[in-house]
Structures are given as structure tokens and as C-alpha cells.
Symmetry: C2
Subunit: 297 residues, 2 copies
């Protein structure tokens, strides 16, 4: 059995061919330019393999609702050349095998659940703090998906009394993403996050907001592991503040070592690093194959 | 096949014997006095039936973690006569059949998912606003349970700028439960909720907090139906304010009719009314039977 995995990102596409254990037997990176060029190279990479199914974890906004007319398409993405590109359909038309399609963060969550920091656990939450804030939850090997896919980046947080930055979410102004995404950090402090490394107050405030979000996620979902990825989380100072604020907020309400003495082992960075997405895409491929089989396709 | 269902409440125990479709063929209510007396009456009710399994939805705090040494017990409950009573064990010792044990709100969620407002859907969220605020989520016929069971009543909300009530949660002071439970309403306004019916400002503020909670729950869990029960929700005025604030908060961010024109059909009261808990207990019984069978007991 052979699977194809595609992590379709705004700057690059990571592609892999995986064996039935989802070990990558071939892998490549293709820069994201215009759709025709990038997709032609993606297709060329997979040619010559007898794939049983393909999984795609895509940048967005992308439509991941199977019943929607625009399912499998990039919709209102800021990368204008990619707007309304039927990514899933293009791949399906070429290879004629089941194709699974999900958001990039959901794919990364699946990858970490199957092979990374949450391997062997029943549930995990994967959060990315980067250009946007998004999260995916895996429960019993499946992605959480109800009415819509979760939109956890837009939850409400309490503003810090000294924070005068108004927030930049076009829908909610000062929701979590509006206050704590990478671009919000840059806006508030006047410099890119990567250049603010030594400014403790920056990462303290960032930890203040992320800790609140984790409190809500943990009380509502109770995941067995919380994985924090994305560019902003590369700042080491944040981690200390997140854990400290979260302990204060929870105030020993939930009596589990994961939320007190062993928090370092509960709130962790991705174990697969940059491979979480493409590994998860291989898992998506397998799930698409099994679903198609279940339907008798 | 016969199932026993027990909704163990702080004021009364509702018991039912259900057939294999979980239709109640016999039902009773027993007042909650001291454990010896109440449990003797519960046991007497079920005697004479060849039960295949029993389900209990219990008031709390109760320990619902199968691996815990106090599993199946009421723990630090304010009803002191019931502290440390091994409720599940007592029932099991007498009937020697598989016993499922859950919180009351989780049982009600299961009942509404199987037979009530969320029948036929893949997921639902059941929230109770009463002496405490609690919620249970059902996803693919199973209760959401990860590290711990969810503790959704204690999430953070943004205080209303004119609300000077400090909140009464012993852990978090002004978390949702601290600001919006029945006792918080009584504390803040100096009278029981049931006597404040005509005071629009009471229910507007209550709606303000509950709408925020629903925003977080919906963005994080994305349930296909949201059911609001408990004594406080009997106030009709709240419903209007909840839906109105929630629409403002979401600001069309999620483009689903359930969250705009059809919100009345998305955020609803329990359909089973006071029977949600005992119906859910019958579902728990069946799940306990199937799990025991899976383990080969
Ligand atoms: N090392 C870093 N420290 C702080 N901020 C960073 C770092 N790397 C990237 N960022 C910020 O994170 C955002 C990009 O997020 P990233 O996760 O790298 O990509 P994306 O979310 O676009 O996939 C930008 O706003 C950038 O300024
Ligand atoms: N009709 C009502 N209107 C407003 N508040 C009510 C009403 N009925 C009960 N309450 C309040 O709800 C709380 C009791 O919640 P309830 O759901 O009835 O029971 P419990 O949560 O104890 O199982 C009390 O604080 C009570 O004042
Ligand atoms: Zn937002
Ligand atoms: Zn609290």
C-alpha cells in the first residue's frame, strides 16, 4: 500500500510518498508560486507511484465541508492567485484515488497524534500561533468536526488592563487571534516577533493571552496532550509565562499532575517539527481510503 | 433485555426500568434523604427485574474516572451525608451487573442526544444553568472525556463593565459559574431568580455571560445542537438576549444558518424536559453492558 501526503502551505508544498506504515519513502519541497506551476510539480512528484490514496493538509481559508459546493477549494485566501483553486479536485482528477482534504492545522494535529507528541494517547489538541491562530483536536484517532470545523483562534480573552493595542481581527477585533497572532505582535510593538527576543514584556503579555486560551480549551475539551506550534512559539520565553499564568488561572481546580507538577510534559512543542503536517496528510490519505472502502467506492 | 436507569439528584432520585429500546416500562421518584434510606428504596424499586445493566447519572462532585481509587463515589459534595458514599459500588454489589457511572449533566446530554433535541445528529452540547453550571458533550454517541471530564462551567468570561458583583467561585472568583449560576443571580440582585422574572436587566446581564460561554463552546467544539437546561433557563427573557448577544459576538464569522437566521432551532431547551437524565442513564446502562461484553466480562 502506498499513500501520498501533501502539506500545502502558503510558502511551500511539502510532499511525501509513504508506505503502509506511513514511513516516508520519498519526500520533497516545492515553493508555492502560481497554482499551475506548483501543482504541475506536485503531480510530477507523485507520478510513477501506484498510490492507494492521497491526503492534503491545506493553507486557507479552505473549504473542508464534504457537503459544500466549494469543498476542496481554497476560498478567500489572501494569496490571490490561489483563490477559488479547486486543489482537491485537481489532484483527484489526475490520480483517481480517494483524496482526504483538511486544514493544515488539522493535518498537523493528526500527525502529532499518530506519530508525535501524542502518540498512544486518546486525544490531543494541536495549536498553531503564527500568521493566524488555529487549532485541531484529535479524539479517538479522529478529527473533531461538528457543525463546522473548530475555529478556536477566535475565542474571547480578557484584555490585559495595560494593553492598549486594539486588536486586528476583522470580525471580532480583540479576540485571541486579534490580540496574539504574529502580525498582532508586530503591530503592537512595531517590530517583527523574531526581533523582540530580549523584550520580556512582549512574551509575558503573549503568555497571558495564550494561557487564557489554554484554560478554555482544557476546561472544554480536556485533551490528554496540548501541543503548541507555529512561528511565535519558537520564542522560548513564552513557554514559562504560559505555564505560570495557566497554573494561576486554574488555581488547582482540576487535580491532575498534568496541570501542576508535570505541566512541562503536558503542554509541549510539536515532536515532529516541520513534518507534522505531511505526516498527518499521510494519515488523512489512509482515512480517505478506509472511508471510500466503507462506502463501497 | 432490561436496563435500569438512575438519575441521582440532590433533591430526588428518578429511577426507571427500560426495555431494549430504552422505553421506560416502570418509573419512580424517590426523595434524596440519607443514603441508607434512599438507596434502600432505589434497590427495592429494581428488585424483581432481571436487569442486564444499570446506568447512573449522579449529582456531584462525583468521581467518574474509572482508573481512580474513588471511582463511582460522591466525593466532596455539599450534601454532607452523601460524602464518600460509594454509590456505584452499592448498586453493583446488590445487582452484580455492569454499572455505568457519569455526572448528571453527562447523562442528560446522552439522553437528549439519543432521544431528544439532538436525536439523529452526530454531536450535541448540553449545558445546565442551575446551582452550578456544567455541560456535557456527545460526539458520535459517546461522551467527550479526555484527561478529565470537561469542566465547562468554569471558563473565563469578560465581565460586563457595569457589573460590580465580584463573583462567587471559590477557585476562580468571576469565572462563568461564579458570575452566572443561580446562586450568583440571587447574590447579586438580593432575591431568588424565580422572583426576578420582570427585571429585564437581570436577564440581559445573564444572557451577556451565557452568550460569551456559547461563543467559546461553539468555536471550540462546533456542536450540531446546543441544548440549554437547568432552573435558570426557565426564564424566557434570557433566551432572546443570549441569541442576540451571540450573533453580535460571532459577527457572521461562521457562515451557517444555525448561527444566524435559524439560531432558534440551534440553541434550544431540552426536549425531554426532566426525563433527559434518566433516559441518558438507560443509555449509559447499555454502554456499560457493551463495554463489559467487549472486555469479555
Ligand atoms: N522565531 C519567531 N519568533 C517570533 N515570531 C515569529 C518567529 N517566526 C515567525 N514568527 C511570526 O509568526 C508569523 C508566521 O507564522 P508561521 O507559523 O511561521 O507561518 P504561518 O502561520 O504563516 O504558516 C509571523 O507573524 C512572524 O512574524
Ligand atoms: N424558574 C426559575 N427562574 C430563575 N431561577 C431559577 C428558577 N428555578 C430555579 N432557579 C435557580 O436555579 C438554581 C437551581 O437550579 P436547578 O437546575 O433547579 O437545580 P440543580 O442545579 O440544583 O440541580 C437555584 O439557584 C434557583 O434559584
Ligand atoms: Zn476573531
Ligand atoms: Zn470557577
Amino acid at each position: 500500500m502506498l499513500f501520498g501526503g501533501i502539506e500545502a502551505g502558503g510558502t511551500k508544498f511539502v510532499c511525501a510518498v509513504g508506505d503502509e506504515k506511513k514511513n516516508a519513502i520519498k519526500r520533497t519541497q516545492i515553493p508555492t508560486t502560481i497554482p499551475e506551476e506548483t501543482l504541475a510539480r506536485v503531480i510530477r512528484f507523485f507520478e510513477g507511484f501506484e498510490l492507494d490514496a492521497i491526503g492534503i493538509g491545506s493553507f486557507g481559508p479552505a473549504d473542508v465541508h464534504p457537503k459544500s459546493p466549494t469543498y476542496g477549494m481554497l476560498t478567500t485566501t489572501p494569496k490571490t492567485a490561489w483563490r477559488n483553486v479547486p486543489l482537491m479536485q485537481r489532484i483527484h482528477d489526475r490520480f483517481r484515488v480517494p483524496v482526504g482534504f483538511q486544514t493544515d492545522v488539522n493535518a498537523a494535529a493528526l500527525g502529532e497524534a499518530a506519530f508525535g507528541a501524542a502518540q498512544g494517547l486518546d486525544s490531543c489538541l494541536y495549536i498553531t500561533v503564527g500568521t493566524g491562530i488555529g487549532a485541531g483536536a484529535v479524539i479517538h484517532e479522529k478529527l473533531l468536526h461538528g457543525l463546522s470545523h473548530p475555529e478556536m483562534g477566535h475565542i474571547l480573552v480578557r484584555r490585559h488592563p495595560n494593553d492598549e493595542y486594539p486588536g486586528r481581527c476583522p470580525y471580532h477585533q480583540d479576540c485571541l487571534e486579534g490580540l496574539a497572532s504574529g502580525p498582532a505582535i508586530e503591530d503592537r510593538w512595531g517590530e517583527k516577533g523574531v526581533l523582540l527576543k530580549e523584550r520580556e514584556e512582549v512574551w509575558k503579555l503573549e503568555g497571558y493571552y495564550i494561557a487564557q486560551a489554554l484554560m478554555q480549551y482544557i476546561l472544554i475539551l480536556s485533551p490528554q496532550k496540548v501541543i503548541l506550534g507555529g512561528g511565535v512559539m519558537k520564542q522560548e520565553l513564552i513557554w514559562v509565562h504560559i505555564r505560570q499564568y495557566l497554573k494561576e488561572l486554574l488555581n488547582d481546580y482540576i487535580d491532575f499532575p498534568q496541570l501542576s507538577s508535570r505541566m512541562d510534559d503536558y503542554i509541549v512543542p510539536p515532536q515532529l517539527g516541520d513534518d507534522a503536517g505531511v505526516k498527518g496528510a499521510l494519515v488523512l490519505a489512509d482515512q480517505a481510503r478506509q472511508e471510500a472502502k466503507g462506502r463501497g467506492d
